[in-house]
Chain length 225, copies 2
Amino acid sequence: MADTRDRILAATNESFRRRGYHGTSIKDVTRAAGATIGSLYHFFPGGKTALAEAVIIESGAAYRRLFELIADEAADPAAAITAFFDGAALVLEDSDFLDVCPIGTVAREVASTDDDLRTATDAVFRSWIDAAAERFTPITPITPITPTTPTTPATPVSDEARALATTVVAALEGGLILARARRDATILQTIGRQMAGLVSHALATRPPASSSGRPPRSRTARTRP
Amino acid sequence: MADTRDRILAATNESFRRRGYHGTSIKDVTRAAGATIGSLYHFFPGGKTALAEAVIIESGAAYRRLFELIADEAADPAAAITAFFDGAALVLEDSDFLDVCPIGTVAREVASTDDDLRTATDAVFRSWIDAAAERFTPITPITPITPTTPTTPATPVSDEARALATTVVAALEGGLILARARRDATILQTIGRQMAGLVSHALATRPPASSSGRPPRSRTARTRP
DNA sequence: TGAAGGCTAGAACCATCGTTCTACTAGAGC
DNA sequence: GCTCTAGTAGAACGATGGTTCTAGCCTTCA
């Protein structure tokens, strides 16, 4: 069955969220996935590094889809932020404070020692920042419908929007650290409120006030990662 | 010589910043510290966990002192935030993107698996949030000079100030992740500006505007950690 | 029927892990 | 001198790390 690869990815994801990159053992992963070492090295000939890279890329993409899904349904960017942070708080609590995001943990562990993995985490963070920054940018009157690569934003994004998006992603990753350390998910909600306030204030004062939300876009809807 | 303990702590600190908790080996630490395994277990009979706890507590306290030092010299809370984030960016760049803070990394790695270490990281974060929240709280007319324990703020701190402080600490920890992943220290400066804006806006609108900075307090000045 | 290829299976390898343990040195106090 | 304690030194231990490798199981296709 070809879903062995998926089971291995899922088990690795969970172990990263629980113990981080170095704390995750290949043998534990295979055991948890109900797979064998042979299978793991069959699907990931590059070993642990390749496996980690796949987890980072695939769950990074899943989170981006999740954010866009939430943002599409929210009335405005600030509401999207609140909803996303509240959702993260819920997941955190439901999972008994298992880490929500394996990428931040791995990013910190390997940034100084493994350049391939560092680059992979950076690409994921970039993608998230792009997705958020797009939502923070008022739509230009005529949007050219060029089917460019998904990581390149369709509309040009202002420096202000990008700074805002960067801050939101940072606050999310940092908030996960604080909330897990205290085993208190409301910390994430609190930070989400602050971020929503920051975003709505910036959007109200800085650009020509287009208070309406963004138009619905091509949906790549999916379930939770 | 009794500074063996200090050398071990410093080497562990650096290894945590480079490789995280699980990536740090006792033997590497002793080698880097110019100490022996016997000495390490002499000073830290609790082994790796006790060593990590000491690193967390001691460098956590050093960062708090550093923040208070910067805040004492800044004109207002927003300027303090900017200065602190800029300082972190500078350290990050000067150290060739070695992690600035070992605590956040360890916190994420162990929160699900080691309750003692999780509690230690939580205490440090709490202490930072207290220190920042105090600066965000306008001084009450008469401050009772009760020499309480240092972690208890002398002035009662509003929920708003605490939420603000929590957000700033989260943004700092998350910003370190992003900046290291991209090897770009300006990310920290950007986030610092956003946080300064958030803080000054909140302080200007919410409480009775006491635009002057806080009075100089009893200094526990110290050098960089 | 036979060959090929995708996938499973797990023993074996050596390196390294955190920890324990015994032996030793140096200096203080009596 | 002797004793005691703080600290140094590193060999040895069993467990576990990531990886390699050979063998075998199915399914597909000729």
